[in-house]
Symmetry: C2
Subunit: 642 residues, 2 copies
């Protein structure tokens, strides 16, 4: 039969079952008015997905259950498939709290379906992801655990749910998100369900955060599933923004229908947009009669822009921040930040501030002013020199009393300390006060390379209510700047000069942009090196790096330009000294700073924060690293390299 | 036979297999020289336990394996039991990375034992805790999953390990930490192993962080196990400090031997001290011939002091901080902080700073000075008035340009903003610069009540390298102050005046301590209210609180003084307004601030940070809360209450 499926790609507000219920009710009405047979909502549509430990509040759970009941009641004349927390008040989880499942509800004519061959009137998630930002095992009981408890095999409990549509029996394979990503698990839910026969349609309800390239991979994996089972597959994902405190995720939707040949025959577009799409599928043909849909490449820079724009808009709304202050130095990071915020919240709500000291060049001061004019934002200049000098003088002239000796002594402010005093004066003194007076928040403009090694000042340029660029490597920030000029504004809002000057903190005369002096980080080589520490699935360490270096394959491994390493580091000693410097900072001050850093908008496959859990344990060099280093630094082998 | 067991209560340095190996080697030598038959080391003795995602570095794993091999080689003439990561390089975990187990190694005469009836030459942890600060499921493959993979029941794989000591066969029940806390799990490792018969001794190797009252509970649970199985049980736990970034845990050791009657016959003392205890156990009697040992009450204030003292000492060492600056206001929190640090790192390494503005009373300024004299610390006074006035004047007199209109406008600093400017001036300007010049760090002195609702200024008094008191409720801070005077220093180092004045931030004339005006938090009622939000196993929400209030049982539920609620809140409207204010702050600004707060020394059963995961999702009131509120605020029911 031909069935009309409504894909309820809703914007889920995490922790707000009341609001989510309202949207679902509207979409159900809408779907009914269009004669849809089935409406599908995402995983955890009622509670939201990333809630931290709110799952431990029983009153919250009762509300989720109650709103779920109201959705079930609304299923006259339509089949509603939706995600919610499934609660067994008579059992406990492994933590002794009430038993919770990440559940798939099937409702028709006011009743719940799915309890044939199953102990609950809902189906539950089999595979609970516990890597990256996911924490499913902390809160939910998996099908695998339930099977163990009941003395069954998980595969035996993975059966289709039968529904009746206009006299036709339809077998539904009901799975949740990770259940479709079973490659590394022993249990394969899709295989197990399809092995039972009589499945007409798989429905994967997901709550799947956007990260670059995820949809490309998902389409490969899910297409293969549909092709191998010869069963069409509907994937429904939510939009909205969810976070776990330190790391903030956009959800892109991109709900998709795969026919039984594995072709994408529907792809929801644009990303990050709420919508109710109605799709007609002839089950007897498994959708094989349908034309292929257009599938965008989600590893493109345009996706980074969309994710950040969406993230900034929604995060400021969540926090109730309408006005934003950005410190603009005339450098690239703050310029991209300003251009993003101007689009996301409107230039009239943005106050840009340049805060020069004696070390800031006329070049960057002019560029900052030009940027503000190009964007049409409110603009002010607040010099910090007087305040910085007052701090230095006050500290150096205030006596410190030693009570044992009765002696007084004086502390000394070094040039290095003066650099940090400037950074803190800008953020914790000026930007904080301006933001409060302006009635809003101020931003942190740090990029991912700086965040990796802590090249920023705590309570200084690392401060802010959100670090929107902290999941972008520096070369991605440049790429984004060009994209913003060319595609978003379609004019040069970020002055070419900002793209051309050397990156510099301008905190001393040693960092003069006019003399081409700048940051100690060499882009893009260090971007690639840091990426291997942070972002690779099997994280690289100095041992791996040094072995590849000694074998002459490091550039290839990291994916950077041949010859660059020899240019940057004439000798193995230079190379090793650089490597250890950054490894030390990544594990030392960089980490200490990240603990107190603002939330980050995640776009990569590994963002700092909850996705990159870390302990302040200091620096470790493996035995093999130390041996390799020793070999490289002996005169004989040194001869081989320089 | 009589066996001599050496309890290797070592200090584990997380992430340093090289250092941990060295300590183990020394202890093994020592145990051999004392003719011990068996030496027992804690869980994850080689790598450490709280490592964040360092488990993803294969080079680190190889080092752990290599040092483990060296320990196995050292087992001539002694049986060595130790925890390490067990790696199966040919299999993957659910995340697709190399398979890792939290493993129990048994070595004798250079060989590994334990592969009878088991696929590996080591045993593995069955129950992987995933609540509170624990993250075992993220990294390790449980026995339950392995059993599922092999088509077996977990119980079938839980068998004793047989060793031979001087011709005697000894059956060992080898379990790891959580395996002994099986109450809420389906699988009960101790029962399953003992059901196989021929177990002479259970050995539980643990890496169990200290929290108040944990050992009392552990002794109840483990005594019961020994009594019910009629098998003696040796529990070995490590000492040291481990963290997961935001939350820092002391490990107290407190290794224990239970005889077959469940009596504690050995208890390692003092807590937090590395040591190698040799204990002789007659296995034929199951230790029933031995006298009971003395077991301290670990919910005592002295344990809080010891945990904090140990935590401060070790955390500063880990970070390489030798010198510390503390801003002392003349209030209780900073005074307790100063007294703790003076003991932990020495008064000569401590610089105390009073930073008065016009709002600081002579009373508190004198008390601060008195405190510094009593402790014998370096002392200085750095007034902030001039700098604060400069900031206000600079912001108010700097024109903001509107590029659309060409108009200039001026921002205004409100009294509320002035309060925060003061707090930030103290921390981000003065303390930061002083700490850098002094060559150290500065502390955050916030307590848990303030941290719950964000009663502190970001980049102001919330800044610092460590928040040592942020897991203590305000009433515990007072209790600790008295303990420090009476028991630690045995004189009045914290002046009585500090204990007697009203808690106040002194950021405006409305907060005058001399007029008894102070913080908006009413201690201890709000301590107890906040504790119910944060610390209860089933977290309370306004719904629970309001229902208990309406039923007249709230004081009893929270554990506070009868009558206090009526005194503080004459009407239901007053009560509700207060409740909603703090609930809003706990979920709003409080949370936003915690994301950027320093690491916390954990002592309670629920510390902020990784132990209390949270998402910035705003405030939610359940349906039932709103209904109850409505009822309470209607004129009829209001009559019942006031």
């Amino acid at each position: 039969m031909e069935i009309k499926i409504a894909l309820g790609q809703m914007k889920i507000v995490p922790g707000r079952p009341d609001l989510n219920f309202n949207i679902m009710k509207q979409m159900i009405q809408n779907a009914k008015s269009k004669n849809a047979h089935i409406i599908v909502f995402p995983e955890m549509a009622i509670p939201g997905y990333l809630l931290g430990d709110t799952w431990e509040q029983q009153s919250f759970l009762r509300d989720c259950e109650e709103y779920g009941r109201l959705i079930i009641e609304a299923s006259e004349d339509i089949v509603i498939l939706f995600g919610n927390v499934g609660i067994d008040w008579n059992k406990t989880g492994d933590d002794g709290r009430v038993r919770k499942y990440n559940a798939f509800f099937i409702a028709q004519n006011g009743r719940q379906l799915g309890d044939e061959n199953f102990p609950y009137p809902f189906r539950i998630k089999t595979l609970l992801p516990n890597y990256r930002e996911f924490d499913d095992e902390r809160h939910f009981y998996s099908l695998s655990k339930l099977a163990l408890e009941l003395g069954q095999k998980p595969e035996d409990m993975l059966t289709p749910v039968n529904i009746n549509l206009a006299g036709n029996n339809i077998g539904l394979g009901c799975i949740l998100c990770e259940d479709g990503w079973s490659e590394d698990y022993n249990t394969k839910p899709v295989e197990a369900i399809s092995a039972k026969g009589s499945v007409d349609l798989f429905v994967n309800i997901s709550s799947s955060p956007f990260t670059l390239g995820k949809n490309n991979k998902r389409n490969r994996v899910f297409s293969k599933q549909a092709r191998e089972t010869e069963i069409p597959l509907v994937y429904v994902n939510n939009v909205g923004l969810q976070n776990n405190g330190k790391t903030v995720y956009g959800f892109d939707g991109s709900s998709t229908v795969y026919n039984k040949n594995g072709d994408v025959v529907f792809y929801s577009s644009p990303p990050f947009a709420q919508g109710l799409d109605i799709f007609t599928l002839d089950l007897s043909k498994g959708g094989s009669n349908l034309p292929k849909a257009n599938v965008p490449d989600d590893s493109d820079i345009s996706y980074i822009y969309q994710a950040l724009n969406y993230g900034i808009q929604n995060f400021t709304q969540t926090l109730g921040i309408n006005k934003v202050v950005i410190g603009i130095s005339g450098g690239i990071d703050s310029a991209v930040s300003a251009a993003l915020y101007a689009r996301a919240i409107g230039p009239e709500n943005l106050l840009l501030v340049n805060m020069p000291s004696i070390y800031n060049s006329q070049t960057t001061r002019n560029l900052a002013k030009q940027l503000a004019e190009n964007l049409g934002c409110l603009y002010t200049v607040v010099p910090i020199q007087k305040s910085v000098e007052h701090t230095i003088k006050q500290v150096e002239s205030t006596p410190v009393l030693n009570p044992s000796t009765g002696e007084q002594s004086y502390l000394k402010i070094s040039p290095f300390i003066t650099e940090n005093i400037q950074a803190r004066d800008r953020s914790a003194r000026v930007l904080s006060a301006l933001a409060a007076a302006f009635g809003g928040g101020f931003t942190c403009n740090a990029n991912k390379a700086e965040t990796t090694v802590g090249y920023s000042t705590l309570y200084g340029d690392l401060a802010g209510f959100l670090a929107a660029l902290a999941d972008l490597w520096k070369h991605q920030v440049y790429e984004l700047a060009r994209y913003i000029n060319k595609e978003v504004y379609q004019r040069e809002v970020i002055p070419e000069g900002i793209l051309n000057i050397v990156p510099s903190a301008e905190l001393s005369f040693d960092q003069s942009v006019d003399q081409g002096k700048g940051d100690p980080i060499s882009y893009p080589y260090h971007d690639y090196l840091f990426r291997s520490f942070v972002q690779w699935w099997n994280r690289a360490t100095p041992e791996d790096i040094l072995i590849w270096y000694s074998e002459g394959v490091l550039e290839e491994k990291l994916g950077c330009r041949p010859g660059i390493i020899k240019e940057l580091f004439p000798t193995p000693a230079d190379f090793i000294s650089d490597l250890e410097r950054w490894w030390r900072l990544y594990n030392g001050m960089g980490l200490a700073k990240r603990i107190q850093a603002p939330p980050i908008l995640a776009v990569s496959r590994r963002a700092f924060g909850f996705d990159h859990r870390e302990a302040q344990n200091g620096v470790y060099y493996t035995k093999k690293y130390l041996e390799t280093k020793e070999t490289l630094l002996t005169p004989l082998s040194r001869g081989r390299f320089c």
